[in-house]
């Protein structure tokens, strides 16, 4: 028990390093920086080069990493933050994701995809504590974590520049009027957070003796969780949150097993946020961490597309397989229609109701698993499974999302990351129902009225039919009283409540309706792949769907389908770029966000 506590503190130490940087950026820029993990990774690589290639000792290595990652932090601020100043936080969220993707892909091209061994430039002495041990590196990490937190705290509370930083965080316009150079402040904070991210990457790389190009993602996820536990923007809170997360995970692993680690972190986060929506150490008056009106999501006026054009487009889509015989493009388009349906469903949550969801793969997984289990275990015919699975997914979806719906804005966003991953983890850890990691294989292809649909064209028509049905339902919902109530929640929660619109009730309806439509996409996916496993439903998939919705134009059903079409066909079209494909994808994403922040099919409001 004591040993497990120590194990938890040791790993909490590592989480604290990232959590402090994330929470600091949030305190200043008001945005969760998804590129933080990528700077962390580059910092680790820079340190690895310094030690392995140039044989530098620890202190000069630290200096090099500090400098390089501070510069990188500045670069991220210049490219992914400043140009998007006026475009709202969803766009900032996506622009940092794009910047992170670009860095990660570039790192893979520069340093190669294989894990690099990183042996520390100094001897590690270990001290026995109980049955386990603590090494010098653990102590160094502790010292770096605590001292940077202290320096940051002193800087923010005591120095004039620190006051400027805090003033900018509280009210950018007011700070500007008081003569604070807010751009300078923003640069400064990103440089500091970048330096901190780089050093944490270096130390964690040394700790695990390895660096690799995808190391940033899971580290930043733990960092987000710890920062949220402590309350975003609260530096001591982030450190305590990190230790709490580390110990909870270690004890959970001892009790339930190692596969439960991430699920324990997610449960802890949601449990805490349920009772203290601003984090453990937030004062009561900080309960509203986000502005609730207008500024959060930029909504453009949907571009009016004439009815005849839509009908013509639909007719063209329906007749396409009669003209195009190429199975490859029909398959790509069928995938685009499935993701279009998924984007339409997410649009109800994000576009209409204004809530960010980064866990949409979870709803997809529920639909897919429900249908796979119904048809292959219980011999239910496809058509019945197609109708039953969405009902099951919507019911479970509302049940598990309900506790999270008290959260707002970016808190909800991070909680949904957890929920989305949580659903996949439940599928992994419940072998009796889902066959666990083995997944469900040999799922029958879709069959309607005795005909099996196996050709690319048949599958294309099936997906298109469901997509058109989904669009019709979503449009009807959107135009009804429900749609107006959801928009009222999006625009101003306080005003909506004053008019008698129950927030949690309407948000649940949005999540339920969304899960219902997403589950249709899940059913199609399961019967098209014929094999599903927990790792089919990744976090990357959730991110991609959100990108489709934002790019296509929030609250524009046709727009998000166009977004899905673009994001499925562009990477396919870019195959000739080979290894550079996703680097180019990241750059394109950033450019589109820059020049069309309100979506492809949406006019400026």
């Amino acid at each position: 028990m004591l040993d497990q506590l120590i194990n938890g503190l040791v790993v909490g130490n590592l989480y604290a390093l990232t959590a402090v940087g994330i929470t600091q950026i949030y305190g200043v820029a008001g945005v969760i920086n998804f590129a933080h993990g990528s700077i962390y990774m580059v910092g680790a690589f820079v340190g690895w080069m310094a030690v392995t290639w140039f044989g530098l000792p620890l202190l000069p290595t630290l200096a090099v990493v500090l400098l390089a990652s501070a510069l990188l932090g500045l670069a991220v601020e210049r490219v992914a933050i400043r140009p998007f100043g006026g475009s709202g936080r969803t766009v900032l969220l996506l622009s940092t994701i794009a910047a992170g993707l670009i860095l990660e892909q570039a790192a893979q091209l520069i340093w190669g995809p294989e894990t690099k061994a990183f042996h520390s430039p100094f001897a590690d002495v270990r001290f026995r504590v109980g049955g386990g041990s603590i090494g010098t590196l653990d102590l160094l990490i502790l010292a770096v974590g605590l001292s940077t937190a202290l320096v940051l705290w002193l800087f923010l509370k005591r120095s004039r520049l620190g006051w400027a930083v805090r003033a900018t965080a509280q009210d950018r316009e007011a700070a500007l009027q008081m003569g604070v150079d807010v751009n300078q402040v923003s640069r400064l904070s990103f440089a500091m957070a970048g330096a901190l991210a780089g050093v944490s990457g270096l130390l964690v790389g040394l700790y695990y003796h390895s660096v690799y190009h995808t190391m940033g993602f899971s580290a930043s996820l733990k960092g987000f969780t710890a920062a949220l536990l402590g309350g975003l923007g609260n530096i001591p809170g982030a450190i305590l949150g990190a230790y709490l997360l580390g110990t909870a995970e270690a004890l959970g692993v001892a009790w339930l097993g190692s596969s439960w680690r991430d699920l324990i972190g997610i449960a802890l986060l949601i449990g805490v946020l349920l009772f203290r929506p601003g984090g453990l150490f937030a004062a009561a008056r900080q309960l509203l961490p986000e502005p609730t009106a207008g500024t959060f999501i930029p909504i453009g006026r949907p571009l009016q597309i004439p009815r005849w054009a839509l009908l013509a487009a639909a007719a063209a889509a329906v007749t396409l397989p009669l003209v195009v015989r190429n199975g490859y493009w029909l398959q790509v388009l069928a995938t685009a229609w499935i993701f279009g349906l998924l984007a339409v469903s997410l649009n109800l949550i994000t576009g209409t109701a204004g809530q960010i969801s980064l866990g949409h793969a979870g709803f997809l997984a529920m639909g897919a698993y429900a249908s796979a289990i119904l048809t292959s275990r219980l011999q239910v015919p496809f058509l019945l499974a197609l109708l039953l699975s969405p009902v099951i997914a919507a019911a479970i979806g509302v049940l598990i999302c309900y506790p999270a719906l008290r959260l707002r804005g970016q808190y909800l966003a991070v909680a949904t990351i957890g929920l989305g991953q949580g659903i996949a983890l439940v599928a992994l850890n419940w072998p009796a129902l889902t066959r666990g990691p083995l997944g469900i294989s040999n799922i029958a292809p879709p069959s309607l009225f005795g005909y099996e649909i196996t050709s690319a064209a048949g599958f294309y028509w099936l997906t298109l039919a469901l997509l058109i049905g989904g669009i019709w339902v979503a449009e009807r919902l959107s135009g009804s009283y429900l749609g107006r109530a959801l928009r009222a929640v999006r625009e101003d929660e306080v005003a909506a409540r004053a008019y008698g619109v129950g927030l949690e009730r309407y948000k649940s309806i949005a999540f339920g309706a969304s899960a219902f439509i997403a589950a249709f996409a899940g059913v199609l996916l399961a019967h098209s792949y014929t094999y599903i496993a927990p790792d089919t439903f990744t976090h990357a998939l959730s991110l991609q769907v959100l990108t489709m919705v934002v790019l296509g134009g929030l609250d524009s059903t046709i727009g998000v389908v166009a977004g899905a079409l673009a994001l499925i066909t562009i990477p396919e079209s870019a195959r000739f770029l080979a290894e550079y494909r996703f680097l180019v994808y990241g750059v394109l994403l950033l450019l589109m966000l820059r020049f069309r922040p309100r979506g492809l099919l949406s006019a400026a409001s």
Partner: protein
């Protein structure tokens, strides 16, 4: 304002769509293999020039490392094949489509390969979800899909066009149990396994065999693919008081576990499954992996000439020692080439040829043939131990 805005939006939209269309145009040209101009050309020239294998696998994303290693194995195999006259006198080559081993991308790639008449067989994908999402398309089209890393027990069950030369868990795991229980005399085993289809099946098979040999399993723990901090689970293992720790791991996580064993005061023999047999394991693990036992189907010191030749050529060309992923890629390409050379360049003939082929020369299996489950028979094993920073052959 709104009218102008709308107009601007349309112009921009048109711009983006144009780019997309242009890019699409570029691809269809770029992806057509050299020597053919469009689909009509493919039919007339197919019988005269090169023979093509389609490869789908990860070149970007989390598993990009393995795709790159595959490519080395393929390139080495092709050099030899083409130096020896190719396939019935025609040069053999491959197209590698990056799928990031993502099941969303493989069905489309499968359709692309199926439609390309120059492609006679497909290798890949890396992960089970990605590979198995494409299998029904290959099966229906009658195009052989050879999975080189697909040890999922259901992979080859998708149909008679789905084959695999991957190491089968049904052989690997029980052999490891014999090594731990009979050769090393261990009786109290703690098993850590990766929580994937491969890890779970291997652990089941290992435990079945170990128990039948009279050993006791004092702990069985699954861990997530993304796990980095093994101290809690190793503390749990220590408290179960085992006399050996069994790792069903890849080399990256295997090395990480080995490094943390000492931190929690666990001091037992470590026996790891053959996937750790890679220079990376020693490179990453350093001191900590000294004394780890494992098994493999080939080793640089293995006297079989085909293994000797493979290791020598690989070392010469790339400057590093090959690992299992390079060997299966090399074997996969060689098997397809050998059978195609015998039966002729035809999709259906290739499938029948794989079934009938005898005396296939491979690095991993020696001289072998496919069994009824469409996997290779007759595995041969060497026992290894890590000593002085190298894998050494160990004899009980």
């Amino acid at each position: 304002m709104s009218l102008r805005g709308a107009l601007r939006a349309r112009v921009l939209l048109a711009g983006v769509l144009t780019i997309a269309v242009v890019m699409a145009g570029c691809t269809s040209k770029a992806s057509t293999p050299p020597g053919t101009e469009g689909a009509a050309g493919a039919q007339t020239t197919a019988s005269q020039d090169g023979v093509l294998i389609g490869v789908m696998g990860p070149l970007t994303g989390d598993s990009a490392e393995y795709g790159k290693i595959w490519r080395r194995g393929f390139d080495l195999a092709l050099e030899e094949i083409n130096a020896a006259g190719g396939v019935q006198g025609r040069p053999l080559s491959y197209v590698f489509e990056d799928t990031q081993t993502d099941p969303k991308q493989t069905p489309a790639v499968a359709q692309k390969f199926v439609a390309n008449e120059k492609i006679v067989a497909v290798i890949g994908d890396f992960s089970s979800p990605a590979s198995m999402a494409a299998s029904p398309i290959y099966q229906r089209a009658g195009l052989v899909q050879l999975g080189i890393t697909n040890s999922h027990p259901d992979f080859t069950k998708a149909g008679d066009y789905i084959w695999s030369n991957s190491g089968s868990q049904e052989d690997d795991a029980p052999f490891l149990a014999t090594l731990a229980v009979e050769d090393l005399g261990k009786k109290r085993l703690a098993v850590l396994h990766m929580n994937t289809d491969w890890g779970q099946t291997s652990a089941d098979l290992f435990i079945g065999k170990a128990e039948s040999l009279g050993a006791e399993i004092v702990l069985r723990e699954a861990y997530l693919l993304t796990e980095k901090d093994f101290r809690p689970v190793l503390t749990k293992a220590r408290d179960a008081n085992p006399d050996a720790l069994i790792l069903i791991s890849y080399y990256n996580d295997g090395a990480l576990i080995a490094q943390q064993i000492d931190d929690v005061g666990l001091d037992v023999t470590v026996v790891a499954i053959g996937s750790v047999y890679s220079p990376q394991f020693i490179n990453l693990g350093g001191e900590a992996v000294e004394g780890v036992y494992t098994s493999t189907r080939f080793h640089p010191a293995d006297p079989r000439p085909e293994a000797q030749e493979f290791v020598r050529k690989y070392r010469e060309r790339y400057g590093v020692e090959p690992n299992n992923f390079a060997a299966v890629a090399y074997d996969g390409m060689k098997i397809l080439a050998a059978v195609l050379n015998d039966v002729g360049v035809d999709r259906k003939a290739l499938r029948d040829g794989l079934e009938k082929a005898e005396n296939l020369q491979t690095v991993m299996y020696g001289t072998t043939s496919f069994g009824e489950d469409r996997r290779l028979r007759n595995p041969q094993y060497l026992r290894l131990v890590v000593r002085n920073g190298a894998f050494e052959i160990w004899k009980p």
